[in-house]
């Protein structure tokens, strides 16, 4: 019963970001880890739109894939972009967005996605809305 009451009390700010990504980015800086230089147009558009939705200034961070994903997991950057397929081996450690279209790697065609920190569900919702606006 106490669980149910606690759940109801916390329901007013659900879905939430346990690591407060939305709160940190809003009105501040959106740090984007870029795996390609430059980002493909669809990815750049989504990042710009997301930054606009959160009144944030986008800041691109470049680096090697393992470095960027490690920073993402640690919460040092907010999004990783750059031709990430939905079956990326990093999928176990990060959360992936809805598809931004398709991507051909060697002979396989996969959904193109962005990566964010796991469990940041409010931020994921905002980002997915930005993706939908750009893609549709």
């Amino acid at each position: 019963m106490s669980i149910a009451i606690a759940a109801l009390l916390s329901a007013c700010k659900v879905p939430d970001d346990p690591e407060h990504t939305t709160q940190d980015v809003t009105g501040s800086v959106l740090k984007v880890g870029a795996l390609t230089d430059p980002l493909d147009p669809v990815e750049a558009d989504v990042v710009t739109l997301l930054a606009g939705m959160l009144q944030a200034e986008p800041e691109v961070v470049r680096g090697d894939p393992h470095g960027l994903f490690a920073q993402l997991e640690a919460g040092k950057i907010h999004v990783v972009a750059g031709r990430i397929p939905s079956d990326t081996p990093f999928a176990a450690d990060v959360a992936l967005t809805d598809p931004l279209g398709q991507l051909t790697l060697a002979e396989d065609t996969e959904d193109r996605v962005l990566a964010i920190q796991k469990g940041e569900n409010r931020f994921l919702g905002t980002l997915n809305r930005a993706i939908r606006e750009v893609v549709e």
């Binding site: 669980i3 149910a4 759940a7 346990p18 959360a95 569900n121 919702g125």
Partner: protein, 313 residues
């Protein structure tokens, strides 16, 4: 080996069977709803597996009921009362597995310190967080078991049906895991609180499962009849043993359980094992060691002895 079950008990058993058919119907709808809501959420997958597992006790109850009153055959000369014992063991194992699943899930959530990632979908132009759909499915999955479980417990007590009793425990576990799932999706504040809540619930379910499993193992090993809700020996054993000892001075009484029924054997106090020589007269030489006892069933019991001289253990 057909036994006349009193009308009153038979009526309750029929009512229990109807409840079990309803359980299966509701569980199937729950399993379908949960399947469509679960997406890639690990917590939902666990809840779904648990709902699927809880189909087992109702099915076992109906099967055991179908078999237990079948007449004895050449292949099953003792009849099928023990179908109930076997069903009870499997149901108890399912309940234990359910507790184990939830414990594993809670422990890995605590160790990984992760919140489930749940995205959103567009339904009829509305942006809906999938978590809300999952919570709705979980709330739906909680309601029928609560009601059915409460209706099953008194019937299980009245009919001494251990599968039904385990099923009622399973229903109680269903709604507890449903609440744990909701807590895990919404998050109840501190990061460890959801996993800790699920962990506590899993211990509760595991305890019920292991207790039932202990009783079931005792039954399969010809242990003395146990109480429905604990592994203590049922008081009826003492009553029947005392009375039989008065009728058979110098004898010991062994009691065991076959499904919901009880069997008592009166054996010589100084050992009931068949003499090897006697066994040899009955069977071939290389098999005689396997024949350890010969029993005789009684329909009429002798009058109690005047003197109560059988206080031997």
């Amino acid at each position: 080996m057909k036994h006349d079950i009193p009308d009153e008990i038979e009526k309750k058993l029929r009512r229990a069977a109807r409840l079990e058919w309803w359980s299966i119907f509701w569980l199937l709808t729950i399993i379908a709803v949960m399947y469509f809501a679960m997406g890639s959420s690990q917590a939902m997958k666990t809840a779904w597996i648990e709902d699927t597992l809880s189909l087992l006790p109702p099915i076992l109850f109906l099967l055991a009921r179908k078999f237990e009153n079948k007449p004895a055959t050449d292949k099953y000369p003792f009849g099928f009362h023990r179908a109930g014992s076997l069903g009870f063991f499997l149901a108890a194992a399912a309940l234990t597995a359910m507790g184990g699943f939830l414990l594993y899930d809670a422990a890995s959530a605590l160790i990984l310190q992760e919140h489930p990632t749940i995205g959103n979908v567009t339904i009829l132009k509305w942006d809906v967080w999938l978590g809300w759909l999952m919570v709705a499915a979980l709330v739906y999955s909680v309601i029928p078991p609560v009601i059915l479980g409460r209706m099953k417990k008194p019937l299980a007590h009245a009919t001494m049906d251990k599968i039904l009793y385990t099923d009622a425990d399973m229903n109680a576990a269903d709604w507890k895991t449903g609440l744990a799932g909701i807590a895990g999706i919404i998050g109840i504040g501190l990061w460890w609180a959801d996993a800790a809540a699920a962990g506590l619930i899993s211990f509760d379910i595991l305890r019920d499962g292991l207790r039932n499993l202990r009783i079931a193992v005792a039954e399969l090993l010809d242990g003395a009849p146990r109480e429905l809700d604990s592994s203590d020996i049922h008081p009826i054993v003492q009553t029947v043993t005392d009375k039989l000892r008065k009728r058979f001075p110098g004898h010991a009484v062994q009691m065991r359980e076959t499904g919901r029924f009880l069997r008592a054997s009166v054996v010589p106090a100084n050992g009931a094992e068949l003499d090897r020589g006697e066994a040899g007269k009955l069977t071939s030489d290389d098999q005689f060691w396997r024949l350890v006892a010969v029993g005789r069933q009684l329909q009429d019991l002798p009058e109690p002895a005047e003197q109560d001289g059988s206080k031997t253990a």
